[in-house]
Symmetry: D2
Subunit: 218 residues, 4 copies
């Protein structure tokens, strides 16, 4: 796979380069300038910031390249731009490229009904610099279960992010536990999204849809 | 629901009576003798031993009662008897009535493909009286993932039974953890099976199928 | 060891008999009546209720037997009675005979200073019938650390009782996790207390002191 | 505190600079050359490699600076050099500067006797690049308990390093769980060692002794 990278010198750009080590970086865009090996990328990765989006979209059109976009803080007008582009190429957009969290969301949405008469509580643990509680991910997981429940937020040390969804009845406990090991967590999800987008039909996809599609392939 | 109970004085029979506290026991069968309030049971529970099966089946036919059977060590001829009965009434047969373990088996069978390029290991913990390792449940869960993996068996103190199925890649860990709290674990599953069987069409069902059916109801 | 048991027919009395299977029950006291094999007990166990205490103390004096008392709700006048008795025989009194919890309390009291610049939070999990939160044990453990900290109480299913004391700094997490498996948890601690009391000098001992003494023996 | 840093441009040197952000770096030594602000350091940090040791020792003597050394693979002749230096200044030497692991080692050495009739097993989890099993840290913790026990090694994904020491009897489980979050784990321990060394009497100290001393201060 040949890929382009918007924001290649930033922290996220560097994590992506590590995870994409078996693929060819052929185009970069940075504040300092751009570079290209002259060939066409199959997919362009953009985990930078909304102000870069117009240039990113222009490059996707120019090269007929798919787009994987993990930029946060997108506005309605940004989504409009993405929908336009998605008529021409595959676009994968998500605010959370963790494979584990997205898989868990799908599993909870499909199977929480098994446990509808069990008790449910969620515990999440993050580093002590994190200001909001509960975490956005914890709220997303709770929504996936389809019912309110007590949430517990621990803010300790340098923990990157644990999420535990715990069901229990009189005789048993079943818990779904996710631990982010490091910042590279999103980069491996981005790689899976890129591999999907490089061959997918035009359209706007969520990361959950990318995962769901992987189930259909034998 | 009105239910009959084969082996009502045994340990399992007593756990069932505790879990079925909102339902009416109307028939019991024991080595010491039998008792009936004269009415018909909707379902008969048998968690005793294979030698009781012919009498159990006879009672189901006599009353048109469904059957939930958790007896272990059934032979081919016993299954033949159950299939016969299943033409007339609903029969639920399983060696493991834990809701959590059966739910986990379904989830792993359906979604392990998300993690096919992640590492996988299973850890199970049981009391120090347990002789076999890995546990039958651990093997069943591993089969559900569709691939071999390292298994670790701890045999310590009085732990009733923990099973942890752990997936990990470079950036995250997702683990599915089940803990049996007590012997009552199976009785609550048996209750769910009984509620299903009391209104189901004739047929031979696994406990997994009972759970799957609960997903279809809104 | 020969032991007497006040309240032998109650739930706690039965758990004690299971844990004391290698020792000889030679005296019982119940509402229904008393029984003795005619010989002297080395120690008398009382996990019943405060109203039995005068008779228990009388029996200890009569036989020169040590006392292990786990009765809850003792009043000042009850403690006065125990201090009196302790001039003559060894008396072990505690509201919590869990070896693990008492060991953890000692460890936290001695070593929390290692982590004085780390974050600290406590998570405890109990069954959904438990009304108070946080649990008395969680408060006791927090006191042992010598500093206030956030406490999280989960009330789910039939969990007998988990306590997790979690320290973390930027680079590591150290947690001390206790799980009660069953009601027998206290009976094994009571056995250790009885073995101590049977040979100890007269005096009033806490269960922590019993454990501390076990460290001094080689 | 004013500190010198041997190997300031290496990965470990950079982690140390992050952890020592409230202190003044006044001297660096690298293959590329050396730098000094002209003043005296209170302590010199060396987490580089054995070949740098003679120059490090020379600098400690010149400045009367204490030494914290975490270099691995030291030979007898290197220890001889450290013992010589320790007549003049405080020297802290360890192969593992994790506060949590060293604290756990002390706790297990002092209190495993509480659980001498309980079962014991150790589970450690590391990334799939780690070749040896069980880990050196797991062996060290087992030695601290004073008895052999089953060890389980998981090698999955990118886990930096978990160690769980699990005791259990019939009624309860007590586990001591350590998780390394990141490579910075050793840098915070090194900081504690430096703060100790800067004011300690001459002598050769282990990191365990540094921790033990912190208990004596009120």
């Amino acid at each position: 796979m040949r890929y382009g990278l918007v924001g290649s010198t930033g922290r996220m750009g560097q994590e992506i380069q590590k995870a994409f080590v078996d693929h060819t970086l052929c185009l970069t865009v940075n504040y300092e300038g751009s570079w290209s090996d002259g060939g066409k990328p199959d997919v362009i990765m953009d985990f930078s910031n909304p102000s870069c989006l117009p240039e990113t979209v222009r490059l996707c059109r120019e090269h007929g390249a798919a787009l994987v976009i993990g930029t946060t803080g997108l506005k309605d007008s940004d989504f409009e731009m993405l929908r336009e582009l998605a008529r021409q190429v595959a676009v994968v957009q998500s605010y959370n490229f963790s494979i584990g969290i997205n898989a868990l969301k799908i599993i909870l949405a499909n199977y929480s009904k098994f446990f509808e008469d069990w008790d449910l509580e969620i515990v999440e643990i993050h580093h002590n610099k994190k200001k909001d509680a509960p975490s956005g991910t914890a709220i997303m997981l709770q929504n996936a279960t389809g019912r309110p429940c007590p949430m517990h937020s621990l803010r300790i040390g340098g923990v990157p992010g644990d999420h535990n969804v715990i069901f229990s009845n009189e005789g048993e406990v079943l818990s779904f536990n996710h631990r982010a090991i490091s910042r590279s967590v999103f980069a491996y999800g981005a790689l899976r999204a890129a591999e999907f987008a490089a061959t997918a039909k035009p359209g706007l996809y969520s990361f959950e849809e990318v995962l769901q599609c992987s189930l259909k392939k034998s």
